[in-house]
């Protein structure tokens, strides 16, 4: 049963930010609502004012250029990302991730900004976008700022946003040469959230040495997290199967999963190890083929 609320429908971002400034802790923002409405119906979230930004088309865009990289507006749907030609060409892992995200119905209505702001540790976009070194642009009545995605999540369902701030855009740097990213989650139904998930981005130099590695774990802690020990195993080395194995072991040790009805803590650590090894290898193999 959803509690009553006063429904506010801003006609512009400026108006939305003014409403947020006015109502601060007494309001929630809804975009696609694919996650929020569930927790509202369960009574876990109730709010006096609901600010609906789904109709804000000024935040509905996908832009790319080789200098500035990719910019996706907050109200862009998952389906638009999945079907974007430029994203398929420049960031195929994002299309792959979207195919794995819930169902077509959810992707048709749910938005990237809503997903990131909801801050579910089991969400699909955050690990992949973090591996891609993405940044979130947030705005308030006072101005705008950007937050690297790997500093955006502070705790379970908590972000670094202040009351009054709104996710406006996600920004992804243009792909570096000899770089590739791979993502996989482990689940029983394809449309389910991951029991755990791993995204790995690998950059190699001309000689095949690992220049940069970003390994991001989903649903393996209260937020999506970088596995920095595992990254350190790979950086500066000629990559081999033995190193991928070692990186997997490091990731399985540094993650902080909890056990639940889907999987025990021990099993989650095991899965993190396996997926880290596989995704690091997959990203490396793809990076070798990249120009």
């Amino acid at each position: 049963m959803i509690h009553d609320f006063t429904y506010l429908q801003p006609g512009s971002v400026k108006e939305a930010l003014a409403m947020l400034a006015e109502h601060k802790d007494d309001c929630k923002v809804i975009c696609g609502g694919q996650s929020l409405l569930i927790v509202m119906r369960q009574g876990l979230v109730q709010t006096e004012y609901l600010i609906d930004i789904k109709g804000l088309n000024e935040l509905n865009y996908i832009k790319y250029d080789d200098k500035g990289g990719l910019k996706i507006g907050a109200t862009t749907t998952h389906r638009a990302i999945e079907k974007s030609d430029v994203i398929a060409k420049k960031y195929p892992v994002l299309v792959d991730m979207e195919h794995k995200l819930a169902s077509i119905q959810v992707r048709n209505w749910g938005t990237i900004g809503g997903n990131l702001a909801h801050a579910d540790s089991a969400g699909d976009p955050a690990p992949v976008l973090t591996a891609l070194n993405a940044t979130v642009k947030v705005g308030s009545a006072k101005g705008e700022r950007t937050i690297p995605l790997d500093e955006f999540y502070t705790d379970l369902f908590e972000t670094a946003m202040e009351p009054g701030e709104l996710v406006l855009e996600v920004q992804v740097p243009a792909p570096a040469p000899k770089t590739a990213t791979a993502y996989q989650k482990f689940n029983l139904l394809e449309s389910d959230q991951g029991i755990v998930a791993v995204a790995v981005s690998i950059t190699i130099d001309a000689g095949g040495t690992c220049k940069e590695a970003r390994i991001v774990l989903g649903n393996a802690a209260s937020t999506s997290i970088r596995a920095k020990n595992a990254e350190a195993v790979l950086v500066g080395k000629k990559l081999t199967d033995a190193l991928f194995e070692k990186a997997g072991e490091a990731a399985s040790q540094e993650c902080e999963p909890v056990g639940d009805i889907h999987a025990s803590e021990e099993y989650r650590r095991h899965l993190i190890g396996v997926l880290t090894r596989r995704m690091a290898k997959a990203a490396f193999e793809q990076a070798k083929k990249m120009g």
Binding site: D4, T6, Q9, L37, S103
Partner: protein, 162 residues
């Protein structure tokens, strides 16, 4: 609670209704418009029994605020039949026996319809299965449903073949 005016089109008929803004799309369709073909199932965005089309896109009616479809065109299972003639996907479901208790059927039909409109020639059966992953059936199983969609995709229900 101040009620809000919602204007939308359901199966090509225009409606103007006043709703509590917390009303979900499935509630607006069932309780305000009075079309009960769209089912309330899990109500946690899992089962897909509440699937309807909004401007041609399949969405789950249990997870969309009715106010968000203001000005949009909704198609429910009741809207598939045109001039007394079933939509090909409905005939195919009948021919393949693609239901048992029938509770998931309207949602299945709407997902199938949206998919076929968007992808008239799916490249393989797996593409159909993937497109239907947001709809759960707990009795018949999926094979008959996939066969029905596949039969329509293969053109077995085109006018000239009837």
């Amino acid at each position: 609670m101040e009620k809000k005016l919602l204007r939308f089109t359901v199966n090509e008929a225009p409606y103007e209704i006043y709703v509590n803004p917390k009303t979900l799309l499935v509630e607006a369709i069932r309780d305000h418009v009075g079309l009960t073909g769209t089912k309330r199932g899990c109500e946690t965005v899992s089962c897909g029994a509440c699937t309807v089309m909004v401007d041609g896109m399949a969405v789950k009616g249990c997870s969309v605020l009715a106010m968000q479809v203001d000005g949009m065109k909704i198609t429910t299972v009741e809207g598939l039949e045109k001039n007394g003639k079933l939509d090909p996907i409905q005939t195919a479901f009948l021919d393949e026996g693609a239901f048992q208790c029938g509770f998931c059927t309207s949602g299945m039909l709407m997902s199938a319809k949206a998919f076929l409109d968007e992808t008239p020639k799916p490249k393989d059966e797996m593409e159909i299965r993937r497109a239907m992953e947001g709809n759960l059936c707990r009795c018949t199983g999926y094979n008959a449903i996939i066969r029905a969609i596949d039969a329509v995709a293969k053109g077995n229900y085109r006018e000239d073949k009837q």
